[in-house]
C-alpha cells in the first residue's frame, strides 16, 4: 500500500520523520484528512494539532502552533517555529 512520508520540523531541528498511513490536521478552513496520493497542497494550521496514523495503526500527535502543512508527491511536511511531538 502506498504510504506517506512525514516530517515534522521546527526552526532549530527536525523533530520527527517517518512513514505514515494517514494524517488528520485542522486547518483554518476546517479539518482535513490526507491519504497517499493526495494532490499537492499548502495550508495554514489553526490549532496546530496534527494527528498522524502510523503504519501499525497507532496515532501520534504533533503540536505545531502557527504552523504550515504542505503535501506533495506523498511527502508531508509540518513546519512551525516551535513544533513538538506529544
Amino acid at each position: 500500500m502506498a504510504q506517506l512520508q512525514v516530517s515534522v520540523v521546527s526552526a532549530d531541528r527536525e523533530v520527527w520523520s517517518g512513514p505514515a498511513r494517514q494524517i488528520v490536521a485542522r486547518t483554518t478552513e476546517g479539518e482535513i484528512g490526507i491519504l497517499a496520493g493526495h494532490e499537492p497542497m499548502l495550508a495554514i494550521l489553526s490549532t496546530g494539532e496534527v494527528r498522524i496514523t502510523n503504519l501499525d495503526g497507532t496515532v501520534s500527535t504533533a503540536k505545531a502552533d502557527g504552523g504550515f502543512f504542505s503535501v506533495e508527491h506523498d511527502n508531508v511536511t509540518i513546519l512551525a517555529g516551535q513544533a513538538e511531538l506529544v
Binding site: T27, T28, A43, I44, F68, S70, L79, G81
Partner: protein, 299 residues
Amino acid sequence: MGAQLRVYRQKIKSAQTTKKITRAMELIAASRIQKAQQRVAASAPYSRAVTRAVSAVATFSNVEHILTTEPEKIERAAIVIFSSDRGLAGAFNANVLREAEELAALLRSEGKDVVYFLVGRKAVGYFGFRQRKWEREWTGGTDQPEFATAQEIGQALVERFVQPASEGGVDEIHIVYNRFVSMMTQVPEVVRLLPLEVVEGVEEPGEHEILPLYEFEPEVDAVLDALLPVYIESRLFNAMLQSAASKHAATQKAMKSASDNADALIRDYTRLANNARQAEITQQISEIVGGADALSSAN
C-alpha cells in the same frame, strides 16, 4: 640577581600566564564551533521547507503582495547588522561593520535614508561611540541565538516595512552578517531581505522533479501573508546561527595566533634572559679575578 635579568623573568612569567588564558579561550571556542555548526545544520530542514513553500507560492501564483512587490520609489532603507556581544575575535566585527558602512554609503548615494537595526553589543558600541542613531538593538544572545529573538526581529522589521514611508516606514531591508564558509574562512555578506527576491532562494527542481501545482488553503493571499514573515524569520535565524558559528571560528583563530605570539615572546625573552645571566656571571668572574689580582699584587 641583576636588575636586567629580573625584568626579563617577569616578562616571561607574564607572557606565560597570558598564554594560558588565550590557550583556554582557543579550546573553548573550538568546542563551541562544533555545537554552532551542528545548530546551523539542524536548522537546515526548516529553512529548506520554508523556502520550498515560498517558492511554490511565488512561482505558481501571480499574486501582488506588499512583501514581494518592488516599490516605485525607495525613500528609506533599513540595515540589520549582525555583530557579536564580545570581542577577541580578530576582524570579525570590523569586517561586518565595514561592509555595513559600504552598503550605507551606496544606499545614500542612491538618495535613500538609512536606518539601522543592531544585533550584538559590538555594533551598539560602535554606533554609540560615534554618536549615531539606531532604531532598535538586540544584545546578549549572539553566542547562542534563540529562535524567539529571530521572531522578534522579524516582527519589528515587517512592522516597519508595512508602514508608509511618510510615517517613518522603510521600503527596503538589508541584512549584513558573517557567513560561515569553513573553520578558516568567514565572509561578510550582504543580503536584501525585503522586498523579497524569492528567485534567489528558489530551489532548482531536479531533473525528474517538477514543482507541483499547489492547492492553497484558505487562499493564496492568506497563505502568503502567513508564510512570508515565517520565511523572513527563518532567514534571520539562519543569519544569526551563521554569525554565531563564524564568531567562534574567528575567536579560535585569533586566540591561536595570540598563543603563538606568546610562544614567540617567551622564546625571545628567554634568550635575552640567558644573555643577561651569562653577562652577569662573566662580570662576577672578572670581578673576582680582578680582586684576586689586586690582592696578589698588593702582597
